[in-house]
C-alpha cells in the first residue's frame, strides 16, 4: 500500500522502525510511566480573562478522598529561578512566560491557577472540581478584530534593526499602486489550536533534592534540560529529560509550559513523583496555538503578467506577557520577482494565552494570503495561475540577491499539473459541473528555509555487525529513527534490521529542538559523519596489517551480514574475526556535524506545490475535496514512506485550516466556546481524499552532505490557498476568511 501512496515505484521504502511498537501499544509515552508512589495532578484553570485571585478555597478538595495536596500561589514552594525577574526558561519568544503559581495575577481565561494532587487520576479530578476560586475581575481585551488598529511593531524588531520583523521595502514603497492592473484584498484566519492526538503530559520525579527526572512531551530533550536546570538552579547534568515517544507535537513542544513546572513543583513539594496530563479543553489555552492573523495584500502587475509590486501587511495576535512572532512575510519577499515590495509586521497583545509555532508557522499563514492574491490577480489578468507564477519565477533570491542552493519548483509545477489534470481546469469560474456540483481546480505554493544546526551522534559497532546510535533528538512523528537507520544503512551497508537509533534522552549526544524541518539535515548529517568515522577507523585498522588497503576508497567499505568488505582491495572478513584480531569488543565513535561558512553564500529553501480538485454544491455550500496532488522539492528523499506520510499529514492539516478549524472566543467572557472535538473541527477520514504525493528527489549538497532540505513544514504551507483557489474556480466566490464553511458559499 505504501508504494502506491507516493508512487516512486522503484524505491524500496523502509517501514517505520518503531511502527510495530506504536501500533501494538508497546511504545511508552510521557503519561505512561508507572513509578512507585506516583501521584496524579489535575490543574484548575481560571474562569476569568483578566484580574487577580482574591481567594482560593481548597478545604473541600483537601478533605476529598485520596487528595494528597492542593497547590496554588498561596502555598507553592518558591521556584528558585522565578526570584529573578527574568523568567529562567529562556523562552523562544520575547517577554516572559507565565510563571506557574507565582502570584495572584490572571492573564487569560483558562490559565492554570492551582493543581490538585491525589493518589488516582479520578480522585484528583474530583478534588479539582471542589476548588473554589474567587476573583477580582478587571476589564479584559480579547477581541482581535475590534482592536487590530492598536497593533504594534514587535519589541524584538525594535531591539534588533536587522530583524526581518522590521518594516521592509524593496524598490518603491507601495509600488504596486503604480501597476496598470492591481488588486487589494484582506485575508483572515482564526486561531488554530494545537491538538495532536497525544495530550501534553509530564511525569516529574525528584531523585534527590537537586536531581530531577522528567518524562515529558517535548520537542527537545536538551533545551528542556537546560530550561529546568535554570528554573530550579541545579546543575544541568542533574536534570534528565526523557521523551522517547511523542504522539504529535507540531510546534507545541518547542516551549516549556506552566503545566510542566506545576508538576515539578508538586513533585518537589509533596516529595513524590507527580504526573500531569492536561485535558483536551486545556489544550486550547495552555500549550500555544497558531495565532489568528489579519493580512492585507496589495499586488499589481503589467497586463502581460509581470509583477510590479506587492505590499503585504500582517497583524498577528499575542499575549500581554509574551511576544510571539513568526515569519508570515518571508515567502512574499523571496518567491516572486517583484521590483517593488513592502512588508509590515505588527502584533496585537491581548488578554489571551501565548501562541506558539504550529506546523508551517508563519509561512502557512502568509502563504494563504500571498497565494490567494496571486490567484486573484491571475484571474483579473486572465492568465493561467501557473503561467503567472512562471512569468515571475525567481532564478535567484530577490530578498538577498544570493543564488539558490537548489530550486526545482518549475519541475514541481509541471509534475503536479500533469498529475491533477490541470488541463481540465476552466479559466472561467463556475463553468465546470458534475451533476449538481460545481468543480474547481486550484493550486498553491509553499516554501520554508532549509535549516541545519549542529548535531552530535554516538555510534557503536558491535562485533556481530549490529550498529547502535544515540542522539538526544526527539521524534515527534515524522519517523526520525527510520530516516536515521536508512542513512546509516546506506552509508555502512548494514541491513536496517541490524541498526538501532536511540533517541529522546537528554543523556545522549547533543541536538536541540526537533522543529523547523531541520532534523534530517542536521542529525542525518551527524549520522553520516559517525558512520564515515567508523569506516575510517576500520580502514585504518585494516591498513595497519595490509598496507595495500591504505588507498581504499571509503565508499567501497561495507558491512553486510556481519562481514566486513573492502571490495576494491578484496578484504572480506567476518567482523567478529576482524575485531578479535584487533582486540576489540566493539568500536565506538562520537561525531559532531555542523554547517560551514560555504552555505552562507546561498539562499536555501525547500519548495512545495499543492493542487486541489474540489466539488462545491451551489445550494447547500457543501465542499468536498476530491483529490489532492502534493509535491516537494525537498532535496534527497531519505525515507520514502515516512516522507510521503509527512506530506499526507500536512495536506490533511491544510484541509482543516482551509475548511474547518475555528477557535471561537466569546469576548464577553474572553473564553473559548469551541474547545472540544465536537465543536472544534479537524478533518475526519471522510474529508480526506486520495492524496497523490510526489518528490523531485534531487540532492542539495550545499544545505548538508546528505542532500536533504527539510519537508515537515512545506507539507502544509500553501495547502489552504490551493483549496480556497479551487473553491473560487468552482464557484466564482472568493472567500478570504478561513475556514471556508458551507454558510459562506450559499
Amino acid at each position: 500500500m505504501g508504494k502506491e501512496l507516493f508512487n516512486p515505484g522503484e524505491k524500496d521504502a523502509l517501514d517505520r522502525v518503531d511502527g510495530r511498537q506504536k501500533v501494538t501499544g508497546a511504545a511508552k509515552y510521557s503519561a505512561e510511566y508507572q513509578l512507585p508512589n506516583l501521584a496524579y495532578g489535575v490543574l484548575v484553570s481560571s474562569s476569568i480573562a483578566k484580574g487577580t485571585i482574591k481567594s482560593i478555597d481548597t478545604k473541600a478538595a483537601e478533605r476529598a478522598p485520596g487528595v494528597v495536596g492542593v497547590i496554588s500561589h498561596v502555598n507553592s514552594i518558591k521556584v528558585p529561578g522565578f526570584a529573578d525577574n527574568e523568567h529562567p526558561t529562556e523562552p523562544p519568544t520575547g517577554g516572559r512566560p507565565l510563571r506557574a503559581f507565582y502570584d495572584n495575577r490572571v492573564y487569560f481565561n483558562g490559565q492554570p491557577v492551582a493543581i490538585v494532587v491525589a493518589d488516582t487520576l479520578e480522585r484528583a479530578q474530583y478534588g479539582a472540581s471542589l476548588v473554589k476560586v474567587a476573583y477580582v475581575k478587571e476589564q479584559h481585551t480579547t477581541d482581535f478584530n475590534a482592536n487590530t488598529g492598536k497593533a504594534v511593531l514587535p519589541a524584538q524588531a525594535k531591539k534588533n534593526p536587522k530583524s526581518s520583523l522590521n518594516d521592509y521595502d524593496r524598490g518603491q514603497p507601495d509600488g504596486y499602486k503604480t501597476a496598470p492592473v492591481k488588486i487589494e484584498a484582506e485575508y483572515h484566519h482564526p486561531s488554530e489550536m494545537h491538538n495532536p492526538m497525544e495530550l501534553q503530559s509530564i511525569t516529574a520525579v525528584w531523585e534527590a533534592d537537586d536531581k530531577l527526572t522528567v518524562y515529558d512531551k517535548v520537542q527537545g530533550t536538551k533545551p528542556t534540560q537546560r530550561a529546568f536546570a535554570t528554573e530550579w538552579k541545579i546543575p544541568v547534568e542533574n536534570v534528565k529529560v526523557i521523551s522517547k515517544f511523542v504522539g504529535g507535537a507540531f510546534g507545541n513542544g518547542l516551549h516549556n509550559w506552566p503545566h510542566e513546572t506545576a508538576a515539578i513543583i508538586a513533585a518537589k513539594q509533596l516529595k513524590r513523583p507527580v504526573k500531569v496530563a492536561i485535558t483536551r479543553e486545556q489544550m486550547f489555552t495552555m500549550v500555544g496555538y497558531r495565532p489568528q492573523t489579519h493580512q492585507k495584500i496589495g499586488i499589481g502587475a503589467t497586463p502581460d503578467g509581470k509583477l510590479v509590486g506587492i505590499t503585504h501587511e500582517s497583524v498577528g495576535q499575542t499575549s500581554t506577557y509574551e511576544e510571539f512572532t513568526e515569519s508570515v512575510l518571508q515567502q512574499t519577499r523571496m518567491m516572486y520577482t517583484s521590483p517593488n515590495l513592502s512588508t509590515r509586521y505588527r502584533l496585537l497583545p491581548l488578554d489571551v494565552s501565548t501562541p506558539i509555532w504550529m506546523r508551517g508557522p508563519g509561512e502557512a499563514t502568509g502563504a494563504f494570503a500571498l497565494e490567494s492574491a496571486m490567484d486573484e490577480l491571475a484571474h483579473v489578468l486572465n492568465i493561467d495561475p501557473i503561467e503567472f507564477r512562471l512569468k515571475n519565477y525567481t532564478e535567484k533570491d530577490p530578498d538577498n540577491n544570493l543564488p539558490w542552493s537548489t530550486k526545482y519548483l518549475k519541475e514541481c509545477y509541471q509534475m503536479g499539473a500533469e498529475r491533477i489534470g490541470w488541463n481540465k481546469r476552466r479559466m472561467q469560474p463556475g463553468t465546470l459541473k458534475e451533476g449538481d456540483w460545481l468543480v474547481g481546480y486550484g493550486m498553491g505554493v509553499g516554501t520554508f528555509g532549509a535549516h541545519r544546526g549542529g548535531a552530535t551522534v554516538r555510534a557503536k559497532l558491535h562485533a556481530d555487525g549490529r550498529l547502535v546510535m544515540q542522539c538526544a533528538v526527539t521524534d515527534i512523528g515524522p519517523g526520525t529513527g527510520t530516516a536515521m537507520v536508512q542513512i546509516a544503512s546506506t552509508t555502512l551497508g548494514i541491513e536496517p534490521s541490524q541498526i538501532v537509533f536511540e533517541l529522546g534522552h537528554s543523556d545522549y549526544p547533543m541536538f536541540g529542538n526537533q522543529g523547523g524541518s531541520s532534523t534530517v539535515n542536521s542529525v542525518g548529517s551527524a549520522v553520516q559523519a559517525a558512520c564515515n568515522s567508523l569506516k575510517q577507523k576500520l580502514k585504518d585498522l585494516a591498513s595497519a596489517k595490509n598496507a595495500s588497503l591504505t588507498t581504499a576508497d571509503p565508499k567501497n567499505i561495507s558491512i553486510k551480514n556481519g562481514q566486513l568488505t573492502i571490495t576494491d582491495n578484496s578484504l572480506n572478513v567476518a567482523l567478529a574475526d576482524f575485531f578479535k584480531q584487533n582486540n576489540l569488543q566493539e568500536m565506538e565513535v562520537t561525531e559532531e556535524s555542523k554547517p560551514g561558512q560555504e552555505a552562507n553564500k546561498y539562499s536555501k529553501y525547500s519548495f512545495s506545490v499543492h493542487f486541489a480538485e474540489v466539488h462545491v454544491h451551489p445550494k447547500t455550500g457543501q465542499v468536498r475535496v476530491k483529490k489532492v496532488v502534493t509535491g516537494a522539492d525537498a532535496g534527497t528523499i531519505i525515507s520514502w514512506k515516512t516522507a510521503a506520510n509527512q506530506m499526507i499529514g500536512g495536506v490533511t492539516g491544510g484541509i482543516g485550516m482551509a475548511l474547518q478549524e475555528d477557535a471561537f472566543m466569546d469576548h464577553r467572557f474572553g473564553r473559548y466556546v469551541t474547545k472540544d472535538f465536537a465543536e472544534y473541527h479537524v478533518p475526519v477520514h471522510a474529508d480526506v481524499p486520495h492524496i497523490d504525493v510526489f518528490f523531485v528527489d534531487k540532492p542539495d549538497y550545499i544545505v548538508d552532505p546528505i542532500g536533504t532540505k527539510g519537508l515537515g513544514e512545506i507539507a502544509i504551507i500553501g495547502v489552504a490557498p490551493a483549496i480556497a483557489n479551487a473553491i473560487f474556480n468552482a464557484t466564482g466566490k472568493r472567500i478570504r476568511e478561513l475556514p471556508i464553511t458551507a454558510d459562506k458559499l450559499i
Binding site: 472540581s129 447547500t620 466556546v673 465543536e679 475526519v684 458551507a742 454558510d743
Partner: protein, 327 residues
C-alpha cells in the same frame, strides 16, 4: 467526577421504582452522552440505574407497524432489514449521526434523550438556563452559529442534536413509555418540548418514566426518501441544518409527503404547512421551492446563524429533489 451508586436493574419494574423514588437517580443505557455530561459536572446523578439487561432490544413488525425496542442500538436499527425495507428514511438518518463507534453504543431511547450540544450548556463557567435555570442564555448574544431559528424563547435558543429524531417525527412515530403510574403512549411530535420558560426540560417524560419502544405504522414512504445533513465536515459533526424528506408518488404526482428539519429548533421540527402545500402537486423544483418558502415562515436568525434562513430552504429543496429522483 462525583461518586455515585451504580445498580444494574434486572426488571423493568425495579428499574422504574428505583428511579422514580430517588430524585438523584437516572437511567443509563449506552451512556454516550450521559457519561460526558457527568465527567463535566453538568449532570450529577448520585445513582445510575443500568437498564441494559432489560429485554428492550427487539425490532419486530407484527401487525402493520415496526416496533423498535428502546435499547436497540442505533447501528442495529440502521442495518435492520425490516427498517431498511419499510422505513429507509430512519436508517439514513441514523447513519448520518455520530460515528460508527458511537452508533454501536447508543440506543434508540438514549438518542431521544440526548441533551443539546450548545457549548454554553457544556461549560459550567458560562451562563446557561438549561443547565442552571436563571443564569441566563449565553448563546442568545454569544456564539449561536449552531442554534435555533424556530420555536426558541429568550431563555434558550439551543437545538436538539439528534438526526434520528428528525426521521422519527417525520414518520409519525409513537413513543411507548412505562412509568410508576403505568404505561402510556405519546406521539413522537409531542415527546420533545420547546424551551419556553422551562429550558431545563427537554421533553415530556415524567420522573421515573422509561421509554420502552418506538413504533412506526406502515406507510407508503419506503421508496422516495432522503435524509440530507449539512454539516461542517463530511462526517461526525452535528447538523447546521438537516432535512428528512419522504414522498409518496403516483407517477409525478405527490400523493403524500413527510418533511421535517433538524438543527433548527429545540425539538425535531416537522414542516406540516409545507407538506400540505405539496400534496396533489406535480414533482418539480419550483413546487419544492414554494413549499420550502412556506416551511421557513416564522424563522428568525441570530448573529451567527442567519445563514440557516437560506441554507434551510435550499436543503429542503435538495432533499426533496433527491427523494423524488430529479437530481
Amino acid at each position: 467526577m462525583i461518586q455515585f451508586q451504580y445498580i444494574r436493574a434486572s426488571t423493568q419494574k425495579t428499574a422504574i421504582e428505583t428511579t422514580a423514588k430517588d430524585a438523584t437517580a437516572m437511567f443509563i443505557a449506552g451512556g454516550t452522552n450521559l457519561v460526558d455530561l457527568m465527567k463535566r459536572g453538568i449532570t450529577t446523578p448520585q445513582k445510575l440505574v443500568d437498564i441494559n439487561n432489560l429485554p428492550l432490544k427487539n425490532i419486530d413488525a407484527s401487525t402493520g407497524r415496526i416496533r423498535i425496542g428502546a435499547l436497540a442500538l442505533n447501528s442495529a436499527v440502521a442495518e435492520n432489514k425490516l427498517v431498511l425495507d419499510r422505513q429507509p428514511l430512519l436508517a439514513q438518518a441514523l447513519n448520518a449521526g455520530a460515528s460508527a463507534q458511537l452508533r454501536n453504543m447508543a440506543t434508540v431511547g438514549g438518542n431521544m434523550m440526548q441533551r443539546t450540544r450548545c457549548p454554553y450548556f457544556y461549560d459550567t463557567a458560562m451562563p446557561c438556563n438549561k443547565r442552571e435555570p436563571g443564569s441566563g442564555c449565553g448563546a442568545l448574544e454569544g456564539f449561536n452559529r449552531m442554534h435555533a431559528i424556530f420555536g426558541f424563547s429568550d431563555k434558550c435558543i439551543a437545538v436538539n442534536p439528534s438526526d434520528m429524531n428528525v426521521a422519527l417525527v417525520a414518520l409519525d412515530a409513537t413513543v411507548h413509555i412505562a412509568g410508576p403510574k403505568g404505561n402510556r403512549t405519546v406521539p413522537f411530535i409531542n415527546f420533545h418540548r420547546l424551551p419556553g420558560d422551562l429550558p431545563q426540560k427537554d421533553n415530556n417524560l415524567e420522573k421515573g418514566e422509561l421509554i420502552t419502544a418506538v413504533e412506526i405504522a406502515d406507510n407508503p414512504f419506503n421508496k422516495h426518501v432522503h435524509y440530507l445533513k449539512i454539516r461542517d465536515r463530511a462526517s461526525y459533526a452535528f447538523a447546521l441544518v438537516s432535512v428528512a424528506a419522504a414522498l409518496h408518488l403516483d407517477g409525478n404526482t405527490i400523493k403524500g409527503v413527510r418533511l421535517a428539519m433538524g438543527g433548527v429548533a429545540h425539538k425535531p421540527w416537522r414542516l406540516t404547512e409545507a407538506e400540505k402545500a405539496l400534496v396533489g402537486k406535480t414533482v418539480s423544483e419550483g413546487t419544492f421551492r414554494q413549499a420550502a418558502e412556506i416551511a421557513m415562515q416564522g424563522a428568525k436568525g441570530f448573529k451567527y446563524n442567519s445563514f440557516k434562513l437560506k441554507m434551510g430552504p435550499n436543503a429542503i429543496v435538495e432533499a426533496l429533489k433527491t427523494a423524488a429522483g430529479i437530481v
